[in-house]
Amino acid sequence: MTTSEASTRERVVAMVAQILKVDPSKISGKDRLREDLGMDSLASLELLSCISDELDVDIELDEAMSLVTIDDACAFVDRVRAEQRGGAAS
């Protein structure tokens, strides 16, 4: 795991913990937003909207709807940020 990925994970987990008011250490990357964390579609979108704002990534709605786990969200954020950095550098 790269430093950037670890940072993304920590920030995403912190946001989830804040929204759900739970101990961050109890949240695993494999936790599913709906089944394991009890977030319905709107709560999931709220989270992803927070991620979009906090981590400065653009997330399309249909992409957001397809994210199932915390790991999915982190991987997605890292990919988009890498693309954005690549785009800015070119």
Partner: protein, 533 residues
């Protein structure tokens, strides 16, 4: 990654001919086509004999004799498989029966509808063979009336706020917590309860559990004093160290939210069927009144203003019945109805309230008096815009669901020949405008659109009106005897699409306006202090 669910409109267009036929009938199968008329006739006969709506409203309870007769007639087993003593009816056929019950008396329809959907379906679909065999025959016989408990004082539309908890306790599950607004609660023989189950699934996982009434630790509160459906039982239920065996956790532990939403699809559709029944009763009362009440030398029904009310009521009723049948047909066809049932519920609850309100208006001052029965119908249907998901929230969810799906790359075409060709063409043009508007919203806001509730609601309302327009056109094409009404209902729906696309274009501006004004209005109440007049 999960695939986004299919779009109801796309599925409808792909199978337009079959859908039109399905929307024109109340049954889902050939077997139901034979059995359903008899069940409906018996239900209507016993309701007319035993269900006095005014008395039930006044006394605040469904007479035990009526409940017993309903049980003898098998109406508690409508949605329970035949091998467990039920009728094995589909959602669609059950809706026809619920609408008939509601036409006579709404509280009874609520009791049977809640029992048949939310109360029973999780056990039918998720229970183990042993648990089903043990409890379903009693439930089908009406010896155990079913209930469903999700809502809590601090968890209404937001089910993630649920505090009732199931914890592992040796080889059992211990349930602690309190559920609010439990329909059928005072006489329920079993409770299907959505609770947090940390330790079963993830840290914040929820599960559905089935709790027989005789389990120690269950407390039943007093009946709530309600505006309408006063004969329906609505109580708080407490669970204090209630211990149940693990086999009474329904289905996969930790999947409770999804399971509850699946059950809600049944519940919302059945509740919508009740709205159809109430609306039908209101239209019948209004028709009888306008054809007898005379003013200015003729019956008031002869005035165009009255005819406009009646036409609108019939149009809305047709739309609601069409969408209820669509939801039932979709489920019978193996399609998911989470999203469709949400739209059906919004449409049916709003339509029934509008129809009852217009019926009251047509009755004049008489309608405001309880003996006409119109006031009771209005009171009875008011709750339907709130329970099983407040419409305001459902529209936000619906808008997010619509926007969260990438549109079909293939162009969707509605091609109807004959006299409905112009309306089909209008529908097609509006659908294309809607898709373009939705694409603009996606591009402009991304996932941040979740914070623009008026945008999401406008998207949802435009989508709903398109659903109504499509359903009414397809049904009218399949049934020449319904042509005039179906076309009228479709024309109303198409006008509403225009209206909601206009609202969508103003939504961001409207959000800014209400934000500014609400800050002024809320200021005196900040911190919970009452403002001065």
């Amino acid at each position: 990654m999960a695939a986004p669910p299919p779009e109801p409109i796309a599925l409808g267009l792909a199978r337009a001919s079959a859908l039109g036929e399905a929307l024109a009938t109340p049954h889902a199968t050939a077997a139901e086509a034979d059995a359903l008329p008899m069940v409906r006739a018996e239900a209507t006969r016993l309701m007319a004999r035993l269900a006095d709506a005014a008395t039930i409203d006044r006394d605040g309870e469904i007479p035990s004799a009526l409940r017993a007769t309903i049980a003898e007639a098998g109406l508690f087993g409508l949605t329970i498989p035949e091998e467990h003593g039920g009728a094995g009816f589909s959602l669609k056929a059950t809706c026809a029966v619920i609408a008939d019950l509601a036409t006579v008396e709404r509280s009874t329809a609520i009791m049977i509808g809640l029992h048949s959907g939310l109360g029973v379906r999780p056990l039918v679909e998720l229970g183990t063979d042993d648990v089903r065999a043990r409890y379903l025959p009693e439930i089908a016989a009406g010896e155990r009336v079913a209930s469903f408990s999700a809502t809590e004082a601090e968890a209404g539309s937001d089910l993630t706020g649920i505090r009732t908890t199931g914890t592992l306790d040796g080889d059992a599950i211990r349930i602690d917590g309190e559920k609010a607004y439990v329909t059928n609660g005072s006489f329920a023989g079993c409770f299907t309860v959505l609770c947090r189950t940390p330790g079963l699934g993830g840290q914040r996982a929820h599960s559905l559990v089935f709790i027989p009434r005789e389990t120690p630790g269950i407390g039943i509160g007093v009946e709530e004093d309600k505006l309408g459906i006063r004969g329906s039982s609505t109580v708080t239920v407490t669970f204090d160290a209630v211990r149940i065996p693990r086999e009474l956790v329904l289905g996969e532990a930790g999947r409770g939210i999804d399971q509850a939403h699946a059950a809600l699809s049944w519940g919302r559709t059945l509740m919508s069927a009740g709205c159809v029944g109430t609306a039908r009763a209101a239209l019948e009362l209004a028709l009888a009144h306008v054809n007898t009440r005379r003013q200015f030398g003729k019956t008031i029904g002869e005035f165009t203003a009255s005819r406009a009310h009646i036409a609108r009521m019939a149009s809305r009723l047709y739309a609601a019945e069409t969408l209820v049948r669509w939801s039932g047909h979709a489920l019978a066809s193996g399609q998911p109805i989470d999203e469709l049932s949400l739209f059906v519920k919004v449409l049916a609850s709003e339509a029934s309230f509008e129809i009852c309100d217009r019926a009251l208006q047509l009755h004049g001052a008489l309608g405001f008096l309880e003996p006409t029965g119109v006031a009771r119908l209005l009171r009875d249907c008011r709750i339907t815009r709130i329970f099983e998901g407040a419409n305001d929230v459902l529209l936000v969810r619906g808008g997010a669901a619509v926007l969260g799906r990438r549109p079909s790359p293939e162009p969707l075409r509605l091609a109807l020949g004959g006299a409905l060709a112009p309306e089909a063409k209008s529908w097609q043009a509006l659908h294309e405008r809607f898709l373009a508007a939705a694409a603009r919203v996606r591009a402009e806001h991304g996932v941040g659109v979740v914070r623009h509730q008026l945008v999401l609601q406008s998207i949802a309302r435009a989508n709903l009106a398109l659903l109504v327009g499509l359903g009414c056109l397809l049904r009218a094409e399949a049934r020449p005897d319904e042509f005039a009404l179906g076309r009228h209902a479709a024309e109303d729906a198409l006008a509403e699409v225009e209206e909601h696309l206009g609202a969508l274009s103003r939504a961001l501006h409207d959000e800014t306006r209400v934000q500014a004004l609400s800050e002024l209005l809320y200021a005196p109440h900040a911190g919970g202090r009452a403002g001065s007049a």
